[in-house]
Amino acid sequence: MATAAVDPAARQAALFEFLARIGDNALILGHRVSEWCGHAPALEEDIALANTALDLIGQTQLWLGLAGEVEDKGRSADDLAYLRDGYEFRNILLVERPNGDFGKTLMRQFLFDAWHYLLLKALKGSSDRRIADIAEKAFKEVSYHLDRSRDLVIRLGDGTAESHSRMQASLDELWAFTGEMFMSDALDAELAEAGIIPAPQSLKPGWDEIVAEALTEGTLKKPADGYMHRGGRRGVHTEHLGFILAEMQFLQRAYPGATW
């Protein structure tokens, strides 16, 4: 395509927006997962969840760090995480869903991991070297997250009647929050055309396949595609996000300018 008319300021804004989206997903999901710390149903799960949260927080540092760099207004990853309000957050609604029981936490993780995995895989080939480098590192971690969450969804789906019905109920509830992963706006289209990111809808067939395979193996029924919730990617969130931020940002807000 013709690349002549790229406005550098617009490109910078689009890039910042994309980095906030991917960074905020990692941050908010990392926060949710870390809420389990010490409360998981088995010691091995406590360890695994802490590990997942740790990976996600590490990825947040990289993505939001790069976002601050791209923005070039002197904001650090911490400034972005701790000093923005809800309407400035760009995570999808799925990751701010409350943990619920352990099954819902795992189902949310699986639906997200399957997409995150494909997204990072594509981003490894980004025309922006900085993005490709972060994706390279994060992809290894997320491949492992996906292996784990997929395996547990299958085993619990095809476990007892109770574990099956809990997993099915979680799937049914969360399904309406999966559509947002594949929605596209002008910004996505612009960055996709420049080869910086994959077009969101291009990830859908791969995701469908991973999800369908796991659900079949776990004897779970894929819900019908009905209305899909949206809004997070443009800063319109559910009421849950405000409480996440009130908790997460408490010290930075209560002691402005202090260093920790």
């Binding site: 710390c37 409360h39 799960e45 802490a50 740790l54 990853a77 085993r155 997460m248 202090a258 260093t259």
Partner: protein, 334 residues
């Protein structure tokens, strides 16, 4: 420490001459500093004492996730959050090694959980205190992990092989925990007056409970004498407490903090600090279940276990189904 006041079932420590040949051989090997391994003969009292001590230690690591986990979602920076997550993950890992070490003595992890949840088994008194500010996270790393190290370094030489080896792995990580705790406080005392006040407040609350971690004086305790004869324990509680105070007071001074003990004074003659007596009535109350957080801690652990039953049952059921399917496929193939 993480294991406080462990009973041994001994009325008094036997001499070598009073022992049957098998026990005498065992004791001589311990005296020579040899390691005892799971399959070898050991006195029943030794086995039981180890189970009590190791499981109490494991429970402490697990319950210890809770006071620190309380601040993960409120950690002030992404880096602090990551470090704290890694630390709490380590503690869960320590619990895992220790449960495995205890299992070599013929007790299952489920049985040990059952003892914790029923209140029969104890965990360290320290984890029944609340974490009220971010400075408490620093204070726990500095003081609680610091006290744990004091106790666990000699345990690396414990006579029971699996426990000693678990301690080697654990000690490596504990020193990182202590450093990160001190680093949190270091940063805060160099910060605003409010931050510094928060640190002093944390020290005021954590100092005495940290000294209590070593347990009351056990110089006259037959259990301690027996544990020492078996080389499960190497130092008296008072010895370790003295070492801890001597190491920690200069660190408090370096932070510009006041240790909340009016009797604290350097004693040139003994080359260590004189210090006041912890409030043992408070200690016994906490042990008896009356500490500020006993009920919450135990409830949290019970809830995690009970709410997770369907999860564990689901995995077991799946494993059985999968094994059944593999067996059926094998028969069909033959």
């Amino acid at each position: 420490m993480y294991a406080q006041m462990v009973k041994t079932d001994a009325a008094r420590v036997k001499s070598l001459d009073e022992m049957e040949p098998q026990e005498r051989t065992f004791q001589e090997r311990v005296d020579q500093g040899q390691k005892i391994e799971p399959k070898e003969w050991m006195p029943e009292g030794y086995r039981k004492t180890l189970i009590r001590q190791i499981s109490q230690h494991a429970h402490s690591e697990i319950v210890g996730q809770l006071p620190e986990g309380n601040w993960i979602t409120r950690a002030p920076t992404l880096e602090r959050k990551a470090i704290l997550l890694a630390k709490v993950q380590d503690e869960a890992g320590h619990g895992l090694y220790l449960y495995c070490a205890a299992e070599t003595l013929g007790v299952s992890r489920d049985e040990m959980y059952e003892q914790l949840h029923s209140g029969k088994a104890k965990y360290s008194s320290i984890f029944n205190y609340p974490t009220l500010t971010w400075a408490d996270i620093g204070a726990i790393g500095w003081l609680v992990d610091g006290a744990a190290i004091m106790n666990q370094v000699p345990l690396q030489r414990c006579s029971y092989g699996p426990y000693a080896r678990a301690m080697v792995r654990i000690c490596k990580e504990e020193s990182f925990h202590q450093r990160q705790g001190y680093d949190i406080l270091m940063k805060m005392v160099k910060g605003t007056p409010a931050q510094k006040a928060m640190v002093q407040d944390a020290l005021n609350r954590w100092w005495w409970p940290s000294l209590m971690m070593f347990g009351p004086s056990d110089d006259a305790s037959v259990h301690s004498a027996q544990s020492m004869a078996w080389k499960i324990k190497q130092n008296s509680n008072d010895e370790l407490r003295q070492k801890f105070v001597d190491q920690t007071v200069p660190q408090a001074e370096y932070l510009g903090l006041t240790v909340p003990d009016p009797d604290l004074k350097w004693n040139e003659e003994k080359g260590g600090y004189d210090f006041g007596e912890p409030d043992w009535e408070e200690f016994f109350n906490v042990i008896a279940g009356n500490g500020p957080c006993n009920a919450e801690r135990l409830d949290a652990r019970r809830k995690a276990w009970d709410d997770g039953a369907w999860f564990r049952d689901g995995l077991t059921a799946h494993a059985e189904k999968a094994a059944g399917r593999r067996a059926a496929a094998k028969i069909a193939a033959e």
